[in-house]
Amino acid sequence: MTKVIEVNNLTKSYRGATAVDSVSLAIEENGIYGLLGRNGAGKTTLMKLVAGHELASTGEISVYGASPFENSAVLANMAFIRESLRYSENYKIGHVLKAAKIAFANWDDAFAQSLVDKFQIPRKRLVRKLSRGQLSAVGVVVGLAARAPITILDEPYIGMDAVARKHFYDILLADYIKHPRTIVLSTHLIDEVADLLEHVFVIDQGRIILDANTEDLRGSAAVIEGSTESVDDAVAGFVILESQTIGTQKRVVAQGLKAEDAARLQSAGLAVKPATLQQLIISQTNMDSSEKVEVA
């Protein structure tokens, strides 16, 4: 596989506050990547750096082998849709699409028009008068119809209701299948998009704390529930990501269980379920790696 984006030891600080902290990662051609993290974790800053909208404090970014900052050859291959895009005062959706057509080499105008209808974006209203959800839909239309080899979508669904978000996920997947490309989607709605993602990066306080194939992550941790005593016995030797107790009942999220371990615990009367991606990520985000408890 060809690496299209490579980030090496990247740091971005604003007046002493470190938004992106020593990040290294690689993104290969044609895949849907998730950049997951809480609000303020550094998702947007990292995407701005990759898209060449900001200059790094230290470290390297390479997109198609070159630095993206003020590099029109690199940026011609990239669509970066931010959560808060601004449009000219007098623009209607038609003007936005005309401008996008000039900006993006692979622009598909018929597809763009069909998306405007699908998201029911009013054509006669000024873009600045659209609702928050409709404005996000404008970004989604531009981001998808651009068919850019690298498409970066930064929380593109803000203000969209559940129905519109489901539309967006379905259209994204269908269009990716027809026109494979590299898509990076940042989100904190992990459960909603988990099935679409081939690979996830989890960012927390500016650092990448998880970089893994999504399917490898699924089933790598389990939720174990039972009496405190039996749970403590059962999970000895596993990494415990999270632990809760109520009365004599205990629930832990444990990492590294194999199928035979799960079977053994179940026959000992414990409830064992694979942790969902969201449970796994939340339990990892809550604690620093130094706080992870290794049970003796």
Partner: protein, 118 residues
């Protein structure tokens, strides 16, 4: 796919196996393409590919170049054997655990099963 958190390719592979066992896909018939599976289940096509590859490795499916994926002759019987081996672990053992918890004896379970016709 379901919300259990299990790897999706395993869920999908199992679902296709069950569809072969129940004759929804007969031997030598074509199964849906990777793109059709990805679209139907709203999953990444790489995940659907992983499920299909596993079934090809198990000789459940085979590929006709340029046409698609087909169910192998003999796949149904092989899957029935494989699933029967898991029957005890997946269905009988949880039954025993629950019965023990409730104080239901093995005699009572046999009586219950005797009333069912299958």
């Amino acid at each position: 796919m379901d919300e259990s958190g299990r790897p999706i390719f395993l869920q999908l592979a199992e679902q296709l196996e069950n569809q072969i066992i129940s004759d929804q896909f007969e031997e030598e018939s074509q199964v849906p393409s990777i793109n059709e599976l990805a679209t139907f289940h709203s999953i990444n096509p790489a995940t659907a590919l992983k499920a299909i590859n596993q079934l090809v490795d198990d000789a459940t499916l085979y590929k006709k170049r340029g046409i698609g994926m087909f169910v192998n002759a003999g796949a149904k019987q092989a899957l029935i054997t494989k699933h029967s081996q898991k029957f005890r672990a997946e269905f009988v053992e949880p039954l025993i655990i629950e019965a023990r918890k409730l104080g239901i004896t093995s005699q009572e379970i046999i009586q219950m099963l005797g009333k069912e016709s299958f």
